[in-house]
């Protein structure tokens, strides 16, 4: 789960990381009031779950409260990478001497949380990694010992020659690691970590991604989810217990299992079609999920054909069949549907479908080919 910069900053602050003040505004007037309170030049920053906000015009300096209002008016409602800006963060502009990067990610290879730090901050860290890899220090953290003081200082000294700044950065890294762990994060990032002309070390930006698997046991973090910042169909899918990602094609896919769902999309493409989405109904065979899945897919006007691909293991195919019958009774389909199912209770499922005028296929390739044909024909019509 992505959270906003202002939310990540709030978490970082509670762990002691030095961060300039800031307030969130949802209207230009609120932004103006905040600028008046800080009585200095401010930065207005779009709060959306997308990188490259600066390049997209979502981050601007404002010298006066009036200018803040005007800039906020421009940024609020702006679209960045397909997402609408509903909130801006207003924060006093800082004098910057140097910019560094500090991040933690969970690394599959070492099976650990790994720090990445670089004295070349403020820019895209992937770019630094590609062009000047020697400017990045990687430090895997032993999960049972946590970040040890000497390791934090090693990283602090990699960023700063001055021992006072190195110690200040080391302390911030300890705090960042504590915030990362306490929040069940899969990523925590400060970019840039800056030094001011007077020598202080301060975090100017904050980013954090929470592991979705942590939300059940951390309800206070689940509350941070901003559904206005997400695609509404994806929000609805999540509420129904589905994993859904909107894509650009016209073949709507309903599959059980993430691997099979990806393979189904690949096969749609293989046979000349374009998938309209990734949708995994998961292992459980609740007919309600199937109903929700059909509702989400049919609400996409680009969909020209619907493809079910179900390999029943834990999933009972008869449950899926019942879900299809229920959903189509409630709101009849306006696009053709192709159903492939095999596995647990297959005979029952086929009978249910046939009784309600559907036919079922057993081979994945044939079903995908058929769905692509129907979608192509539909698109031509």
């Amino acid at each position: 789960m992505n959270i906003h910069e202002y939310q990540a900053k709030e978490i970082f602050r509670t762990h002691g990381i030095p961060i300039p003040p800031g307030g969130v505004a949802t209207t230009p007037a609120e932004a103006e009031a905040l600028a008046r309170r800080y009585a200095s030049t401010v930065v207005v920053k779009a709060q959306v779950h997308a990188g490259g906000r600066g390049k997209a015009g979502g981050v601007k300096l404002a010298k006066t409260p009036e200018e803040t209002r005007d800039i906020a008016a421009k940024i609020l409602g702006m679209h960045i990478k397909g997402l609408t800006v509903h909130k801006v963060l207003v924060t006093p502009a800082a004098d910057i001497a140097t910019e560094a990067y500090v991040g933690i990610i969970v690394d599959r290879a070492s099976k650990r949380a790994v720090f990445m730090v670089s004295p070349a901050g403020g820019i895209d860290i992937e770019e630094v990694a590609a062009k000047t890899p020697d400017k990045i220090m990687r430090l895997p953290v032993d999960p049972v010992y946590g970040l040890l003081p000497f390791q934090a200082l090693q990283m602090g000294l990699f960023l700063y020659a001055d021992i006072k700044q190195a110690r200040a950065a080391a302390k911030i890294m300890q705090q960042l690691y504590a915030a990362f762990w306490a929040s069940g994060a899969s990523l925590a990032e400060i970019n840039p970590l800056v030094t001011t002309p007077s020598g202080d070390v301060v975090a100017l930006d904050a980013k954090m991604v929470i592991d979705d698997n942590e939300l059940d046991r951390r309800p206070e973090l689940a509350l941070l989810r901003d559904e206005t910042a997400e695609d509404p169909a994806e929000v609805r899918a999540r509420e129904a217990g589905l994993t859904f990602i909107k894509l650009d094609g016209n073949v709507g896919c309903v599959v059980n299992g993430a691997g099979l769902a990806m393979a189904t999309m690949d096969l749609v493409k293989y046979y000349g079609g374009e998938p309209a989405n990734f949708l995994d109904i998961g292992g459980s065979s609740n007919p309600d999920k199937v109903v929700a899945a059909l509702q989400i897919i049919t609400s996409d006007p680009h969909v020209r054909a619907i493809l079910f691909n179900i390999f029943g293991g834990i999933t009972r195919t008869d449950d899926v069949a019942n879900g299809i019958v229920t959903a189509t009774k409630a709101s009849p389909l306006r696009v053709p549907i192709v159903i492939r199912l095999t596995g647990t209770n297959e005979e029952v499922a086929v009978k249910i479908l046939q009784e309600h005028g559907f036919s079922a296929m057993t081979e994945m390739d044939a079903a995908v080919q058929r769905a692509v044909e129907l979608a192509t024909a539909g698109a031509r019509a």
């Binding site: 990806m262 995994d280 292992g283 390999f311």
Partner: protein, 290 residues
């Protein structure tokens, strides 16, 4: 012959009285797996529907039944503790089916289990099956058949799809292992490839990967450097857009490492057969395993 499980497997089911645990315990017993004990704290001394004794703790179960393997169906918040309890009790193989285990839990579980000398498969995996001999997990028994093919996969239902094609084509399996798609899991492709390479009954291996991470690339290097047996590969997610999660926590494309194209190139570089579609696995295996 087979890898990891066979007729000598004596299985504990952790969470045997839960919804999933009881359903799959019965399925495994029906398949012929030697389920010797169940564990549910507070129900020690009772018996499961089939007569299998239930214990309060894994260590009790091991002491009384000489179990050597466990399969875990407990809910995600308790799965880490269940894996560590199993390792502490001295079990040599731990299979965790549970989906949704927090990844930071796994950073602690992995070294704990490893230090105690146990093999962990999963979490968030379908388990494994040595057709005709033993099934540990949730892979449907009837789509499998005994034979000379070893199969390892990061996926669940996609594994079934491939196994279904293999079995229908007369290509039975020594063992099918679902290692799970989470970012941190106990057993990786190389562990399984190595086991299949050493297993005399396995004549060819099928490896089913996904986008995200570099495990498939590492595995390809292992195939190239070490393996004599033919290996056929398939990668799911060739058309997935970069930067989006496709259900599995592991299927994130991080930086430039982890695209389907990279993985397929690595497979080809290792001289592996690379299937374009799941069904193509059959012909590729036939060509190479002759």
């Amino acid at each position: 012959m087979s890898v990891f499980i066979d007729d000598s497997t004596r299985l504990v089911v952790q969470g045997i009285t839960g919804r999933d645990g009881s359903f799959h315990a019965k399925q495994m017993i029906e398949y012929g797996t030697k389920v010797v004990a169940g564990v549910t704290p507070g129900k020690g001394g009772q018996r499961f529907e089939t007569g299998v004794p239930i214990f309060n703790t894994v260590v009790d179960a091991v002491r009384e039944t000489q179990a050597n393997t466990t399969v875990i169906y407990v809910p995600p918040p308790f799965a880490a503790d269940a894996m560590m309890e199993a390792a502490d009790a001295g079990l040599s193989l731990i299979v965790c089916i549970t989906e949704g285990v927090p990844v930071l839990d796994m950073t602690r579980v992995y070294p704990y289990v490893k230090a105690r000398g146990a093999r962990l498969i999963g979490p968030n995996c379908p388990g494994l099956i040595s057709p005709g001999s033993s099934k540990v997990g949730i892979i449907p028994g009837r789509i499998c058949a005994p034979g000379p093919i070893g199969l390892v996969s990061r996926s669940g239902t996609l594994t079934y799809e491939v196994v279904y094609h293999l079995t229908r084509a007369g290509l039975g399996q020594t063992t099918c292992v679902g290692i799970g798609g989470d970012p941190i899991n106990g057993t990786n492709f190389i562990d399984c490839l190595d086991a299949f390479e050493r297993d005399p009954a396995t004549k060819a291996v099928v490896m089913i990967g996904e986008i995200g991470g570099t495990d498939e690339q590492d595995a390809a290097r292992f195939v190239k450097d070490t393996m004599k047996k033919p290996v056929v590969g398939f990668i799911a997610g060739q058309t997935a857009p970069p930067g989006r999660r496709m259900g599995h926590a592991g299927a994130i494309i991080s930086g430039s490492a982890g695209t389907a194209a990279e993985k397929i190139a690595a497979f080809e570089d290792a001289g592996m057969g690379v299937a374009k579609r799941p069904i193509d696995v059959v012909d590729l295996v036939r060509q190479r395993a002759r």
